[in-house]
């Protein structure tokens, strides 16, 4: 009896998720994002594609980290074809660096919008287009209504959108599926090695719709994400030397 009740509740949960725009990936479509524990935070344990993700950054360094993290996600999205649009108002992205994160820079179309108010117009048009795999939109402001429009656009077209909010000191309510904050973490080198290690980020999920927010450390090495799980012994070890 209890088991039957749980089944019903589980089924209802799935239905609600489907109504809210989460879809289980079609077989053969969803590539792995290699995000491990980070993906577990999302409903069904799957990174939601065909939705809007919001990334906030407070300083240009964070913007660089967020852009690289997004590029790592876009790499998987572009694996099945389609175009990628990078819409920005004041762009500093250095295209050759995208190759280091697995995205062919010549497959990305950069749209430099002269007026900030047109950024979201272009983003909405791009998100409505089904031939596009991913849209990255750099902007400073986004109201709830604007985010709602974008979310409605992707629910029809199944395009994945990334809103990169620069200098986002004021957080507003949005209709996005998740809110990320990517900051730098000191890189780790093997003992005695000179130089700098692989890029390493502190990935924070501030908000996930129907999921569990959390905080992880992720490293980019061997052309993929590698979540870093710091074992308890290591923490002790680190504390001792801290």
């Amino acid at each position: 009896m209890i088991a039957a009740k749980e089944d019903i509740i589980g089924k209802l949960r799935q239905d609600i998720l489907r109504w809210e725009g989460f879809r289980p990936p079609k077989p053969g479509e969803g590539g792995s994002f290699d995000l491990g524990p980070v993906e577990e935070a999302f409903p069904n344990g799957v990174f939601p594609t065909g939705a809007i993700h919001e990334f906030i950054s407070l300083c240009p360094e964070d913007t660089a980290a967020s852009a690289a993290f997004i590029a790592g996600l876009v790499k998987t999205l572009l694996g099945h074809g389609g175009a990628c649009l990078w819409i920005s108002w004041s762009r500093r992205i250095y295209p050759p660096a995208l190759k280091l994160f697995g995205v062919d820079p010549d497959r990305v179309v950069f749209v430099d919008v002269p007026l900030m108010k047109d950024v979201l117009w272009v983003a909405e048009e791009a998100l409505k287009c089904e031939g596009v795999a991913a849209v990255i939109c750099e902007t400073a402001q986004m109201s709830f209504m604007e985010s709602r429009r974008l979310q409605l656009a992707v629910e029809c077209s199944h395009v994945t959108g990334f809103i990169l909010r620069k200098e986002a000191h004021k957080l507003t309510t949005t209709a996005c599926v998740s809110r990320w904050k990517i900051t730098h973490a000191p890189s780790q080198l093997k003992r005695g090695m000179p130089g700098v290690g692989f890029p390493r980020w502190q990935v924070e999920l501030l908000k996930v719709r129907n999921g569990n927010p959390g905080k992880w450390t992720v490293e980019w090495s061997k052309r993929r994400f590698n979540p870093v799980i710091i074992k308890k012994q290591q923490i002790k070890h680190l504390r001792r030397y801290a």
Binding site: Y94, P96, A97, F110, L115, C129, G131, S187, L189, V196
Partner: protein, 500 residues
Amino acid sequence: MPKRFVSIWFRHLLTDWKTIRQPSLKNKAVVFAEPDHGRMVVTASNAIAEKHGVSEGMALADARIIARDLQVFDGKPGRNLKLLKGLAEWCLRYTPLVAMDPPAGLLLDVTGCTHLRGGELEYLKDMTDRLRTLGYDVRPGMADTIGCAWGVARCAESGLIVLAGAHRTALMPLPPSALRLPTDMLIKLQNLGMYRISSFIHMPKSVLRRRFGKDMVLRMLQALGQEEEFLLPLKEPVPYSERLACLEHVKTRPAIEHAVQTLLENLCKRLYSEGLGLRAATMTYYRIDGKNGSVSIGTNHPSHRVEHLYKLFNLTLDNVAPGMGIELFELDTTHTEPVSDKQSGLWAAKPAADSEEVAELLDRVAGKIGHTAIQRYLPAEHFWPERSAAQTRSIKKKPESDWRTDKPRPVQLLEPPEAIEATALTPDYPPVLFIYKGTKHEVKKADGPERIEREWWLEPGEHRDYYIAEDQDGRRYWIFRSGHYDGRQQGHWFLHGFFA
């Protein structure tokens, strides 16, 4: 189809223009005068002044004596050409082939246009009536050849419309001046007693050529239609063009949208049947107050889809100012390309089906914010960071070489590099701390230097020694020292980018 030409002669072009501007001059003698060899000479006069005996080339002082109360205005060389150009553009509503005929005339190729307004007489009457209403004293002439139409407009007493094939008989009674000959030639003919074209038209060509030169024979043969003559049209005719004349003057947005839709439907039907697609088009609208304007679109790949092209035009329709009303729309394709039934892939690893959608999306974006906004980058064979990615507008161009991945490059690049203050313990070693925008960064880990030489064949300057520096918070920077360390100068260090 036999050709038909119209010549319009503005008898008093400049003075009529002045009278339209200043209606009070209507019943006065008006002349334009220009300085010539230290005196003022009459260059244009109106009918009343001519009645008094004033003629072109007369000294202004003489003219003032003959005609009292003479209104004199300063003439400007080239003003008649400007007026004629405006009038020629106005005449485009009657035929697409209009040419200027200085000093005071227009030539129109009206082949196949007259039936649209109910016959040749109505066509010519409509045109001249409207020009007369504007205030111009015009004389038209219509014939099979340019030369005959010109002569009839200027010299014939009656019968301004010469029937098809009758141009030879129409020329017979006209004076030699109807043949567009220079003045000295006319005086020579006058002295020889040849007052009519009929008196010398039967002479053998060789005799005429020997006595009057080959130009005169050429003019005569052109008028008779035995020698080819071409118009130099004001506007180049466009092979794929559609026109829509409106019975009622169009003022509202829905009406303009409907007109554009209709034009596009007709045009796309034609393009489709010939296997062509549109790459660039211009829509010109003519307003009833004589002004006109145009809006243009461009596409990334040839298209003959009405819905897509209509969307592109719809984005530009805000710039259309209908004013008092629009009477004619014209859609010209400035660039067409053959369209393949199956579009080839936009990029190599991509299914072909969606490339068209992306191209149409980019067309819409370009229509809204401009073509310059859309960029793609291809690898360029340069080590210098600013030059290692080449911009391109084309969305189909493929990279010729691979992207380099052997050296780390920052995700964000500052252009231009920003000056920082840095302290290095040893020359050629990475700095131990640097100050950027007032914030101190202690360098915990660093890598470098990576020396990049400036390409001296492109620009002069110092080389750069790049270091990757990671500060206490794990943030990474790309900093460089410009030139060699010499121990004295500050401001050698620059921040060039942020790593991921």
